[in-house]
Amino acid sequence: MANQAQAITPDKPDETHKRPRSHELNALLGLVGIALIFEILGWMLQGQSFLFNPQRLSIMILQVAVIGIIAIGVTQVIITGGIDLSSGSVAGATAMVAMSFAQVSTYPRAVYPEWTDLPVIIPLLIGLSCGLFAGLINGLLIAFTRIPPFIATLGMMVTARGVAKWYTKGQPVSFPTDTFASLGQGMTPVIIFLAVAALFHVALKYTVYGKHTYAIGSNEQAARMSGINVERHLVIVYAIAGLLAALAGIVVAARGLTAQAGMGIMYELDAIAMAVIGGVSLSGGRGSIVGTLIGAVIFGVIISGFTFLRLDAYYQEMIKGAIIVAAVVADVYRQRMRASSR
């Protein structure tokens, strides 16, 4: 019997170590493939390299970073088997509120003329609390009324957008202090994105929080039976997603030096797309931050690749939609393969 066990062990680890990583590996191979296609097309159609252009790459990374921050939160929500459609609106509303506490005193039409030139921590904390609040409402609704996450966060999506418009009656909020603006300048958004990604990679992989997140998405009933406080956990996960949406909103506002009521529209779908492209399963239980990170870069490469090839923006949107659907179809097929291989 000992022999048998030994005979099985040597060839098995290979298989197992590959399995959990396979989605990420697939995504990585996809990324390399897509980048190479654009490189080849670049030389053929534009007569220049797509990849070896530092300026293009840095623009691409910057574009990805903001929505990537949202995608980190959305990834965790999707792993629990839920969805968050409110992130774009929450980012927009947060940007408005945070910016209104970050204005300079020299600007005569500040939202709060008596509250100008505040230290950066104040708009930052106020903004993050707004996102946390929105996320808490999402989480409480989903955990305690048992309405589908789709509906709860759709409601929040509309409500938060309403808040963003109502806050200044549609007027943009501009002229932030230099310290606030610095949150969005240069490579800061990328650093924030990577720090958030690293933090939640560790949380998902090495903590009880992560284990329970996967368990709930995998089999909510089993999680409940095992004594996991499913309701509390869902509230935490949605609150984190709201918090990260707020962070993204603050960064966008700081980067653009202005906040507008229409900011962040469709960010939620781009974030979901990044997660799904990176192998996060919409049915819950599977996915990782590393996957979403790769998904985000794939997303960025595709968008900047199309721009590079001077593809019409309308086509870009159409193709983006097709890519999202393709990623979900791939996920459905993976599941079917798994079910039939049992």
Binding site: K12, T16, H17, P20, Y206, Y214, A222, G285, R342
Partner: protein, 260 residues
């Protein structure tokens, strides 16, 4: 034989109504230490309902549960687990996408130091203890890092049982543990059950399979239409008697059967 032995679990007038449906009526049940008993009965006889009351999945409408002589009330499965009662349910209570140690320790993860949800998992310790738990129950799973989804029904059930067996100090309940399994896998599960018997851990086994019941347990409790129709000693009865109690066709076969 059992007069000098301690009663582990006793229920008095245990009753569960789901609205107008009387799923369980006045169940008086007892289990002695080290004893393995089976609960048999037709579909809807109240077997699973009974198990759910004992394990804290549901709360009884009426009646008392005495565990080791003390009256207990379980508001959730965790409360039952805390006193040493573990259950293996019909629908495998496993998280498919997690690996073996994660499933075995689900809800009671080993951590380095407690920081609430953000405590760091002691993966090595969980792996080690899972390995031991599986060895103790005689289960062989080649690689514990495989997610449960990639395993056969038998392996999954073995993980579920090992999980229960490794934590249960006082009592294990199994609701149809072999219902979905093949012949070989069923044998494996039955071996685990024999192993528990040797270790002296009491067991309540819900099963439809009479051959299995006769092979494994000391006593057979027959449920019929939400009531306990009778208790038979496995060594002193035969399949016919059990079947007639289950169906209620032959009345008067047992003193308790009269009120059917």
């Amino acid at each position: 034989m059992s007069t000098d032995r301690k009663i582990i679990l006793k229920t008095e007038g245990l009753t569960k109504h789901y609205g107008g449906v009387h799923a369980l009526e006045d169940a008086d049940f007892e289990l002695y230490e080290g004893e393995h008993v089976a609960i048999v009965g037709d579909n809807g006889a109240g077997k699973s309902t009974f198990v759910r009351q004992i394990t804290g999945v549901e709360q009884p409408t009426r009646g008392r549960i005495l565990f080791e002589g003390k009256e207990v009330e379980f508001h959730n499965p965790v409360a039952a687990r805390e006193v040493g009662i573990e259950a293996v349910f019909q629908n495998l209570a496993l998280a498919d996408d997690l690996d073996v140690p994660s499933n075995i320790f689900l809800g009671r993860e080993e951590v380095y130091f407690n920081l609430g949800p953000f405590s760091f998992l002691n993966q090595r310790k969980m792996y080690q203890r899972s390995r031991e738990a599986l060895e103790k129950t005689g289960v062989k799973i080649p690689n514990l890092h495989n997610s449960i989804a990639n395993m056969s029904g038998g392996q999954r059930q073995c993980v579920a049982i090992s999980r229960a067996a490794s934590f249960a100090s006082k009592l294990i309940l199994m609701d149809e543990p072999t219902a979905a399994l093949g012949v070989q896998e069923t044998t494996q599960v039955e071996n685990i059950i024999r192993n528990l018997k040797e270790r002296g851990i009491p067991l309540i086994l819900v099963s439809h399979n009479l051959r299995q019941v006769f092979n494994l347990v000391d006593k057979i409790w027959v449920f019929r239409r939400g009531r306990i129709a009778g208790m038979l000693e496995a060594g002193k009865t035969d399949g016919n008697e059990v079947v007639s109690l289950i169906t209620g066709v032959q009345s008067g076969v047992h003193e308790n059967a009269s009120y059917i």
